[in-house]
């Protein structure tokens, strides 16, 4: 794929933007690609819907916004509902199992659920749910090397929290790997 469009959606406070930042950075700084991250959030304030968009490409990204994402990462029901119909035909949907109830999608769409909030809560900090999602996304989408993503996590989270976040990332990644295996197994 020459250009990969990714949309991450959720609500303010979930770390949606940081999640996008890490993906973009992984591509741009640690994987020698071009990437553009843009964000859209509600009427200035927190608590309302918010989404991040990353475009990864081999060349300079010219049009900065996602039109029909190849990957949709959904961290909230609202976000999912808002964006679920504006996706690529063969979109990969990565979502939080407990927050998002999937609706019907076209045959080429692949969907992967993860109880990210619960995993984060188990890790003791609900706030790392975005990093759990990120790890999970990394494993199931396979568009970026695990190491690039890990390095991007490490250099992007507040200092002092690297350990926790890498743990969250790995948890999500492992969950994704096993799910993939299952899917392959059942396929």
């Amino acid at each position: 794929m020459a250009v990969t469009e990714i949309r991450i959606t959720g609500f303010g406070g979930q770390g949606v933007i940081l999640c996008g930042y890490i993906i973009g950075k992984a591509a741009s700084i640690f994987n020698d690609q071009h990437s553009t991250l843009t964000q859209s959030f509600g009427p200035e304030a927190r608590g309302s819907a918010c989404s991040a968009q990353v475009i990864i490409s081999g060349e300079r990204v010219l049009y900065p916004y996602v039109t029909a994402p190849d990957i949709l990462i959904a961290m909230s029901k609202d976000g999912y509902l808002t964006h679920k119909d504006k996706i690529a035909e063969d979109c990969i949907i990565v979502y939080d199992k407990d927050l998002v109830k999937l609706e019907k999608h076209g045959p080429k769409v692949k969907t992967y659920g993860v109880p990210a909030t619960r995993i984060a809560e188990e890790l003791g900090r609900k706030i790392v749910l975005n990093i759990v999602m990120l790890g999970f996304f990394g494993a199931v989408s396979e568009i970026l090397p695990r190491e690039a993503l890990r390095k991007a996590v490490e250099t992007s989270v507040p200092s002092g929290t690297e350990g926790l976040n890498l743990k969250a990332f790995d948890k999500g990644f492992e969950y994704g790997l096993s799910l993939k295996k299952e899917t392959v197994a059942t396929a």
Partner: protein, 297 residues
């Protein structure tokens, strides 16, 4: 056991007792979880209900900020103006319709930083406006920058290592400028705050109520103070009620006791009373007391 089952259906939305004063077509509001703003709005709505005023004859004016959004949720004639300018807009509105009650609902940044000049001058003139300032010690809407109320050492996105500017004591500033009613409560002093709102609205002249309220998303987070709930508790538990205290003794420090209460409640002729008295004095019977627009234009 005769207790009925708790209902939790969305159909019952229409029955919420505040709904007559809220724009339900705009719910849910944009405020974050554990934000103190909604609680303050409920208190104002309750005060209005309890005063039994004609809500057709009330207006609310806000500037820009999380707090500024109040104008968009209260079902009164409501004006969401520009950042810092709620007061002069409200002044024009009030003078044109002295028969109406005009309430300004404003954040600490909006009212006292960019709007500081209007604040002191409208207070000086003793214009009959009720000003409610939700002080969350920060610029919330724009993402947590320092405010002129931010306590020393508190963090904000523009004082990432801790604030080092002396903050204002708002009741003191209001009183020095000429306000005739000045009170301060935390958002958890729900009944006392409601009562102050009632007194302030009833007061002819410039009345000012400061509400210390949690901003969970920014102030609490940047300062690692837990959730808005923690902050709500914290402010309340760390407050002492001192009615009638000299406002200058009501400074707020970071994480120290917050003095709350009613500080000022004095009588002084309002702007329009002064205007009428002066003109009456000069022109005698030739002068008809100014009554504003009759609403018919």
């Amino acid at each position: 056991m005769s207790a009925k089952q708790v209902k939790d259906t969305a159909q019952e939305i229409k029955e919420h007792p505040m709904e007559g004063l809220l724009r339900m077509d705009r719910m849910p509001h944009i405020w974050c979880s554990t934000c103190g703003l909604g609680t303050t709005v409920t208190a104002l709505a309750t005060a209005i209900n309890q005063l039994g005023l004609d809500t057709n004859k009330m207006a609310v004016v806000s500037g820009i900020g999380c707090t500024g959004r109040v104008a968009g949720y209260l079902k009164l004639d409501s004006f969401h103006t520009t950042h810092g300018r709620a007061l002069p807009f409200a002044l024009g509105l009030h003078i044109s319709r002295p028969d109406m009650k005009v309430i300004v609902f404003s954040g600490d940044g909006d009212l006292i930083s960019i709007g500081g000049n209007h604040f002191i001058h409208t207070a000086r003139r003793n214009v009959d406006i009720t000003v409610i300032c939700v002080n969350n010690f920060i610029y919330a809407m724009t993402g947590g920058q320092v405010a002129p109320t931010t306590p020393v050492t508190a963090k904000s996105s523009t004082t990432p290592y801790g604030c080092y500017e002396h903050p204002f004591n708002l009741p003191r500033l209001a009183a020095s400028s000429g306000a005739t009613y000045v009170a301060r409560w935390t958002a958890l002093h729900i009944r006392r705050m409601t009562n102050s709102f009632k007194e302030a609205i009833a007061k002819p002249g410039f009345s000012f109520v400061e509400v210390i309220a949690p901003c969970s998303t920014l102030y609490a987070r940047l300062n690692r103070l837990g959730t808005g709930l923690d902050l709500m508790k914290f402010y309340h538990d760390n407050s002492v009620i001192k009615h009638g205290i000299e406002p200058k003794d009501a400074d707020i420090d970071f994480q120290s006791k917050i003095v709350v209460g009613k500080f000022i409640d004095i009588e002084k002729p309002t702007y329009i009373e002064c205007l009428n008295d002066a003109n009456k004095h000069v022109f005698g019977d030739k002068y008809k007391p100014y009554g504003g627009s009759d609403g018919s234009y």
